[in-house]
Amino acid sequence: MLLTRKTNGSAVQQSRLAQGLNGVLAKTIDRRSFLKRSGLTAGAGVAAVTFGSQLPFSMIGEAKAKDDSSGKIEVKRTVCTHCSVGCAIDAHVQDGVWIRQEPVFDSPINLGAHCAKGAAIREHGISHDSHRLKYPMKLEGGKWKKISWDTAYDEISKKMLEIRKQSGPDSLFIVGSSKHNNEQAELLCKWARLWGTNNTDHQARICHSTTVAGLGQTWGYGAMTNSYNDEQNSKSLMFLGSNAAEAHPVSMLHTLHAKENGAKVIVVDPRYTRTAAKADIYVRHRSGTDVAFLFGVLYHIFKNGWEDKQYIHDRVYGMDKVKEEVMAKWTPEKCTEVTGVSEADVYLVAKTMAENRPGFIIWAMGQTQHTNANAVVRATNIVQLALGNVGRSGGGCNVYRGHDNVQGATDLGPNPDTLPGYYPVAVPGSWVHWAKVWNIDLDWLKKQYASEALMARPGMTVSRWIDGVTEKTENIDQDPNLRMIFFWGHAPNSQSRGSEMLEAMKKLDLMVVIDPYPSASAAMFAMVRKDGAYLLPAATQLECDGSVTASNRSVQWREKVIEPMFESRTDHAIMYQLAGKLGFADQFIGKKDGKQNLRIVKSKSGDEPILEDVTRNETNKGTWTIGYTGQSPERMQAHMRNMHLFDVKSLRCKGGKDALTGYDMTGDYFGMPWPCYGSPTIKHPGTPNLYDTHLHPMDGGHTFRALFGVEKDGINLLAEDGIANKGSDITTGYPQFDHVLLKKLGWWDELTEDEKKAAEGKTWANDLSGGIQRVAMKHGCSPFGNAKARAVVWNWPDAIPQHREPLFSPRADLVEKYPTHDDVKNLWRLPTLFKSVQQKAVKDETHKKFPLVLTSGRLVEYEGGGEETRSNPWLAELMQDCFVEINPKTAADRGIRNGEYVWVSTPGINPGGGNPRLKVKAKVTEGVGPDTVFIPFHFSGWWQGQDMLPYYPEGAAPIVRGEAVNTATTYGYDRITMMQETKTTLCQVAKFQA
């Protein structure tokens, strides 16, 4: 038969050809096959250690292969926990074991698609050979020792209360997590305040804090303006500081679809990334010169009259001043001098964006992690405003957030300067508002703090906690130094200046790590300490329910897939149980005057609050500013059950009822992207694209927010005549709504009697009835007013964004022309250096000793600090070594060959003396220019050449370990938000010598 016939002759021939083909495939240099292949033996070694050598198939899992026609399999719908795209997953669970994972084709966000992380997520549920922390542990005599939960709670709380007595509540710093769901994030924010400190922060600080500040100061809200989906309605997509193909892979589904429909894709990046490989135009610029590049683009826009003059007149304040400055300062020569990009390329980008409107500028950490990032973000906003690209479908600023819930944790979670919903700690009214919602006694709360002054003072940031420990006490803006730290779902290797972190760890009285994976914190600590640390195993987001906000502000509800594994407990259970030991359990659950916000249930984690109660009774009741008030658990759950009803391009439900509850979703946008104003009963549909005046507010339309007054130096800050939401009863600019405005307009009587009672003396942002919002929107008005966006932010040090050279600049010759800021004596409670560091570097000629720019970024297989994903064998196998990307010329100059180990050293500080250095493999590639090298940031577990395995708790070390790039990153923080500089520093690369 033809099928099985051995066609000898052709078989021989084929096999020879096949070998040729294999040969070609094998010869291609690609980072995975080559580094991995070089690691294949290492991989086998790892496998041998980890799994035993001759491994039979399907021993990794406990899954039962048997299909089950009897239907005992339950399907739980959850959302991937590895990035902000928010891909839905159907988990098949049998007898409490997660046996299968199926794509959710119905999801309008991912249409069933997953990247490596999402497609490997079931591994979390596999107990065999798990690398998780399995029970509470304590460092004793230099060894990790198993202890019980009770012992852990007793010892930790005793120590905390003792230190509190000596040094006050501000001796504690709580690093929260962007992987907590919205409810847990809100609870942790409250937890820190009930303890009595603002010293709490999470990943958003080092992720998009500069974005949030920059966008917020420009037009009102610090969030992605549109959705990934909306890119399908776009004509140009410029990625500046985003490698979406690796960081947000499934977003590329929308990007590539748009591209195939004719949208132009532009990638501007020092590296030729996987995203760049899909671009129509790729431009390589020098790391850290984004403002210069953007203003170079803007120069051509103005010069050719491509700006949208009507739009600027109607909706933008201060563009004339920006224009003046740009035309004078950012001529093509100057732009090229700074960025290294030719005039022709800059022009091409400007022209492409101008001719292909609407368009997006898309960014992630490439823009945000700079000492000058607040300016970069604003320059981006200004370019988009000039082109009239903001406030419409198909155009805007698409900010790709990192962790799955970093948007939600920023909105609601443990921030040092704000309470949930961005109510500032500095404003007393914020405390009144939240004390009321939380049902706690404000006077009691005030007494928890060291003083009312410290209650109103933003706390320290996660990027600087090490200085909070080590800085001289007289230099810091609170009484004590930090003595205790909680790492509650946050890796230490994501913070810069890792080499100095060890010094801080040496000094701490107490470190508590609450994490499913104890992370590098445990190993780093054990490297320098004999005692003083506790590890508590937390459950993952797959082991509890709760809501999660994707990058596009859509809120999705996760079902619990499995019970917490081993002895782990949910984060909210741990918060509640520890609160009990510290004496604020009742306040934590809002129990006062016969009322109780949160009910308590018994679970595998012990007593824990019900998360739906948090959504319903706290988030929905208090977060009026950003509209987390309309997304009730019932609405979210209905959306999750009926994903097929939502349109992919618009995210809108054309019609349909939820079979279970009868809830009619017609008109809702998927996940009710915030702001979803008013109470759930008024059925606001959510806001798919911010500031889009083409829609009525009850259809998700809005104006720019009136956040900065009505007038500046005689110039009108409100929108001009004719600019208002579709169907608006006010057709010109107006300020924020409050009870006075409502009365003046004669709309007060449209409130119900109950609403009137609640709204009297209140604004749209603190009227607990939601009546003001309801009536404003009924009249087609946005509750937050109708103003212009600001191109000039007069309250910031750089009113117009300035290019400023990085503290460690390869272009010492440009430092004088584009110097950084002056040092600041007190920023977020700490002295912060700018000029003194930069000038010392110039004086020392640091750029000669360290001539290469070191930048860092993502790999698709791993997330964040990476301990979790490097513990997953399906992912770990794909990337077994940390590496440095280096240009062939740079490598040849140093005698370095592909796949060899090299030392990468930086001008950072090694407290033990010398400069920090990293032992990584060289990946020789033209993907980076000769002046730049790149190291991914997900690795940890090696310390300057040494494997830290002995310092990990037994069985809880990740499979793949490597050098953390942040061990060697250098000093440098954003002037506004204290974002760390990790994208531009200097280094030298040398052949490895032991």
Partner: protein, 79 residues
């Protein structure tokens, strides 16, 4: 590089540039040493999976082809 691969591929298949006859092999075939294998459509559909009528190849194929359109984002986008 891709081009070269394709050229190689093209040469490779000159000998057999036609789709070969696909014989249905639910049972062991002459000259074939392997044991029998059940055809996909002869299985009972799962309780929570796609449906077809057991033993009916056409109905199985119909549903497979329908399901396959999930790999085409257009079908979901312009549904």
């Amino acid at each position: 590089m891709i081009r070269r691969l394709l050229v190689a591929a093209a040469v490779l298949t000159l000998a057999a540039c036609m789709e070969v006859e696909q014989a249905s092999t639910p049972e062991r075939q002459a000259g074939q040493t392997v044991r029998r294998d059940t055809a996909a459509w002869n299985n009972e559909p799962l309780a929570n999976g796609p449906k077809w009528s057991k033993g009916d190849r056409t109905s199985w194929e119909e549903q497979i082809k329908k399901r396959q359109l999930a790999q085409h984002e257009d079908r979901r986008i312009y549904q």
